[in-house]
């Protein structure tokens, strides 16, 4: 028996003037799935995420998140549904400490005592203990990404969207991030955007390939990498 569909887009489009960043996308995601989204630069992955989370109001089409029509809602309304997102360009509170960042996310949904314990749990879970008092703006890129991940998980969302969570990380950091993602996936449904094929092999069963705002193919990693259209897209249309 298949689990229920928790995210659905119907003919979702986001146009910027003449640029069709997302173009009539029909996308389905089932509960507890860990889906990877890949595609060349400018394929529309981040724009798709922005439409899901209310950062952009789609030009047309619908976003349905668990029976809730999320089209044109504001980010905080989507967050209230239990959706967490790590954006491509890290969005953190640079002037505040690591714990303050995470506490702010935890405290949104919980009372003072629970928020405090959730914060220290999250700090431990992401192994941020040594830098807990540091100002986030002064941390290395990889660490800032983890702080952002910490803010996402501290809210205990059931749906987690991660936009290039391993970008700019060292090999060790990537492995750690894979661990974290697997851990999050124990409780949450996930969509992860990544470029690194090896990374995707480590985490995902099903992959959706975006190209020029549309879904090109949706299948297992092996099928996707063997597909000639995908190869062409990645090598560039001129080079075959």
């Amino acid at each position: 028996m298949k689990s229920e569909i928790v995210v659905e887009t119907r003919n979702l489009s986001m146009h910027f003037g003449g640029v069709k960043a997302v173009d009539r996308v029909n996308f389905n995601l089932r509960e507890n799935e860990l889906r990877c989204l890949i595609g060349p630069n400018g394929a529309g992955k981040s724009t798709f995420f922005k439409c899901l989370t209310g950062q952009l109001a789609p030009t047309s089409g619908d976003v349905v998140i668990r029976d809730f029509n999320g089209t044109g809602r504001l980010p905080h309304q989507i967050a209230r549904l239990g959706v967490g997102i790590k954006t491509q360009v890290p969005n953190v509170f640079d002037g505040l400490s690591v714990t303050e960042n995470i506490w702010l996310a935890a405290r949104r949904w919980h009372g003072a005592a629970r928020a405090r314990s959730l914060t220290s749990q999250t700090v431990e879970r992401l192994k941020l203990g040594d830098i807990r008092a540091d100002t986030v703006g002064q941390l290395a890129h990889g660490q800032r990404q983890w702080v952002e991940l910490g803010m996402v998980v501290a809210a205990e969302p059931w749906l987690v969207l991660l936009d290039e969570p391993a970008a700019g990380m060292t090999h060790d950091e990537i492995e750690r991030t894979v661990e974290i993602i697997r851990e999050i996936n124990q409780q949450s449904t996930m969509i992860v955007v990544e470029h690194d094929m090896q990374f995707i092999r480590m985490i995902s069963s099903k992959v959706t390939v975006f190209h020029e705002g549309r879904i090109l193919i949706e299948d297992t990693m092996d099928v996707v990498t063997a597909d000639p259209r995908v190869r062409e897209v990645y090598l560039g249309s001129g080079g075959s």
Binding site: Q55, H76, A105
Partner: protein, 356 residues
């Protein structure tokens, strides 16, 4: 409120303020005390802008609008009621409501920061030119004649139980200091609550605050309204200190001045803007008595110097200098200890070799 290092300093400041309040009327001349009431009013205005700009990240170029509305509302209500108790409430409420309405359109209309600065300034200047045109006898609110650019004489504050017993100037000074100190404590408390911390987070990154589920429009509106109420309370003290309200409260010079206090004193602190207001007031009035240089020129110069050389403002710069000096001293002490230990050890060794 926990006793962090910041809060210990805040307590010291409050204590200093209380001592000053008690001691000043005995030491200073009456003229100085009357003058001080006006400066205190400006300091309250600075505090309110320090709160919403420094902590809420809201750049309001027209904070004087709420200050002036507080002053006018107090004066008009006090004239009509023949006592100040209701007038005080009405003045604070009027300033808060005005801020709430203006803020609603700006924050729920998602106006960008630059436009917000322009809108708030414009609103202030509109109030200025509107009130300047109210010189005829037809511009009356109840018994209060608005008086155009001459303004209105403000009835002094009185004790709630004795409406016809106006306060003496030194009592107005006490009330002013009380409002300043209580306002400061409220602000210091506020920024440490969940609400205040979310406001700071919005200042740092509004999108992230939204993505973790906060309705940032509401938080900004609430912050803006609280700032308006505090500025309005400052306006009441101002009306009492000067004894008259005129449309000049709303002029360009004053709205720029408020911004300069905060820049000079330091954004992201509460005491900084207050000190900035005091310092610049006395600097400009001293320069006025010298009569050699133009005040505006000096203010402009100060602004440029601060933006270029001390961009964080006096208090934050002082605090990091102090912290730096302290950790340097601590390091020196540690080094000294290590060196002493080392020299002791080597002298021990020397003794040992001697014995051999």
């Amino acid at each position: 409120m926990s006793w962090t290092r910041e809060n210990r300093w805040r307590a010291v400041l409050v204590l200093a303020g209380v001592i000053f309040t008690v001691a000043a009327p005995g030491v200073l001349e009456l003229f100085t005390i009357i003058n001080l009431s006006t400066v205190i009013a400006l300091a309250i205005l600075a505090l309110s802008l320090g709160l919403i700009w420094g902590y809420g990240g809201i750049l309001c170029f027209g904070q004087t609008a709420f200050f002036g509305i507080g002053a006018y509302a107090y004066t008009i209500a006090a004239i009509n009621f023949g006592g100040s108790s209701w007038a005080v409430l009405i003045a604070i409420l009027a300033a808060a409501v005005f801020a709430a309405v203006l803020g609603y359109f700006m924050f729920y209309g998602r106006v960008s920061d630059v436009y917000m600065a322009v809108i708030t300034l414009t609103v202030t200047l509109i109030l200025y030119s509107l009130l300047r045109r109210t010189s005829g006898p037809e511009y009356k609110i109840g018994d209060a004649l608005l008086g155009g650019f001459n303004g209105v004489t403000s009835p002094p504050l009185n004790l709630p139980w004795a409406p016809y017993m106006p306060l003496f100037p030194e009592h107005v000074f006490y009330v002013g200091m009380a409002v300043l100190i209580i306002g400061y404590i409220i602000c210091a408390w506020l920024i440490q609550t969940h609400f205040g911390r979310v406001s700071v987070a919005i200042r740092e990154n509004e999108l992230r605050a939204e993505l973790i589920g906060y309705d940032t429009r509401f938080y900004k509106l609430a912050m803006f309204t609280i700032g308006g109420a505090i500025a309005g309370a400052g306006g009441i003290i101002f009306a009492n200190g000067v004894g008259r309200v005129t449309p000049d409260i709303f002029n360009l010079y004053n709205s720029a001045l408020a911004i300069i206090w905060v820049i000079v004193g330091g954004r992201g602190t509460l005491a900084g803007p207050v000190m900035g207001a005091f310092a610049l007031f006395y600097l400009t009035s001293w320069l006025g008595t010298q009569g050699v240089v133009n005040n505006n020129l000096v203010l402009g110069l100060i602004l440029i110097v601060f933006v270029l050389a001390v961009p964080r403002g006096l208090l934050p710069t002082f605090i990091s200098w102090w912290d730096g000096a302290r950790s340097r001293r601590a390091m020196q002490r540690r080094e000294l200890k290590v060196r002493r230990k080392r020299s002791r050890r080597s002298s021990d060794q020397r003794e040992v070799t001697h014995e051999k």
